[in-house]
Each structure stands twice: as structure tokens, then as C-alpha cells.
Amino acid sequence: MKSAVIVFPASNCDRDAATALEQITGNKTAMVWHQDSELPDVDLVVLPGGFSYGDYLRCGAMANQSKIMGEIKAHAAKGGAVLGICNGFQVLTESGLLPGVLMRNAGLKFVCKPVALNVEETQSAFTRKYDKGQTITLPVAHGEGNYYADAATLDRLDGDGRVMFRYQNNPNGSARNIAGILNEKRNVLGLMPHPERVVDPLNGGTDGRGLFQSLIETLS
């Protein structure tokens, strides 16, 4: 599986994502600067966590205007896999690649802790190595992770089996405890928790590995 990580100004989980990918795939991950106009030939594009453009205006709003986003939209339109983690999820909702929006946490506080999640669906390139209903623990670190969409959109997400992960104890007020969702074509995943931070036992867990292993099995 060939992968690229997009680097925006103030991305801060870009190298974590690359390290996780390289450790699991054994392949070098391409780092792509936001002003680049071309994506290398890859199977997976990762939009990493961080505070792109200082979260100015709205989280992800500025990153969505960057040059590389046109290429990412084209990659997704061709069926290429896109994974948005944390700030990457915010960029994906701002770009319209995923529905809804991530609002300020209901408790108004930045939440930084491991959280227990239910794996809701395993029929996807991102979750097939997990078991349906499995509990995994991933860290969250965000101030704006409160997923919001209108009731019709939420019903559609539920009905189509596009809610991939749900919080067991909602840390941010997110609608229907949503932690991660897929797009309609099921090739774009956005989630607030950080799977890339728990791929090595030295970092306190390996529950994030399943997501990357699922992608390898699907895309290699």
C-alpha cells in the first residue's frame, strides 16, 4: 500500500501518521506539502491531526482552500482512499467530502484522554480487521469534536451503516455519540480519535493498528 500524508502549516500529527504507516506497511510514506499541486501515485491519502492555519475562521476552513485539496477531491472521486484524523476530519467536513460539521465541544474544554469506542461496522476498507461491536481504546485530543448534522443526515448515516465508531462515554457532545463516519462511496473516513498514536505498545496500546491493517488488506 502506497500512502501520502498531507502537511499543512500547523499540522502536528503528520509525522506520527507517517511513522505509524511506515511501521505497519514497511513502505516509505510520501509527505506532501499543502501548496503542492500534485499528489504522488498513492492508494491512501491521510489528512493528519493538528491545528492547520491556526484554526483561523473555523477548524479546517483554511486548509480546505489550499492548493492540494483539488487533487485530494479528485483522488476521492476516483475511489481512492482518504483518511482524515482529528483536524483532518474537520478539513473533510469543511470540504464537503463528508457531511456535517465539528463544533466546539459541548463542555467548552479541550479533551485529551484515551476513550473507549465501539466499532460499529466492519464492512469497510478501514475497519474490516476489527470485529463488529468490538471495544477499542484510542486517544482523543480536540476542542472541536462535537459532531453535528441535521436529523435527516444522521438518519441516513445510521441507515447506510456509515457510522464506523461511536463513543461509549461521549466526551464532546457529539450527535448520536458519533466518533467517525464514512462518505457515501465508503472510501473516505473521518474520525476524531487518533489511531496513529496507538500502533506501538511502547505508546500505551495497539488498538489503532487494526485500522491500518484493514487498509493494507484492502489496498495492497
Binding site: L57, A61, E94, P99, M103, Y148
Partner: protein, 79 residues
């Protein structure tokens, strides 16, 4: 030409910041304060001199960038 754009949350969208501001005002003794909703004000200077053209350009700016219309509404004031 100068313009001012107000971006606020749509009715019905929970505004935890507004709520916290309301609680703080109540705590300061302003007991008459009920619901509080907060938002953004964006001031822009435009080289455009035609008000109708400025208005339509501003609408496009709001739709494309200044507001996220999933949760926000906007008002444009030309000066």
C-alpha cells in the same frame, strides 16, 4: 466600499459558548440575561464601487468561505 458580515449560528444549533457567556453574566449579577447567542463580525474593504455587484460578491464569499452554512447563517451590511 466597506462591508460588515455577521456570521451567527442558525436557530436551533446549540451554542455552548453563548450559554457559558450567559451563565457568566448571570454570575456577575445581570439576572435579567436569558439566552445568549454569540457569533463573528468580519469587516471587509472592497475596491468595488457598484453596490449590487459588491452584494453578490459578498454573498458568494459567505457561501464559499466566511460561513459554514451547515450550522451558520450570515448577514451582509454594506456601508
Amino acid at each position: 466600499m466597506k462591508a460588515r458580515v455577521f456570521v451567527t449560528l442558525k436557530n436551533g444549533v446549540l451554542d455552548p459558548q453563548g450559554k457559558a457567556i450567559g451563565h457568566a453574566l448571570n454570575g456577575l449579577g445581570f439576572g435579567s440575561v436569558g439566552e445568549v447567542r454569540q457569533g463573528k463580525v468580519i469587516d471587509l474593504e472592497l475596491s468595488e464601487t457598484d453596490a449590487a455587484k459588491a452584494q453578490s460578491a459578498l454573498k458568494e464569499m459567505c457561501e464559499k468561505l466566511l460561513a459554514n452554512t451547515v450550522i451558520e447563517k450570515y448577514e451582509i451590511e454594506l456601508k
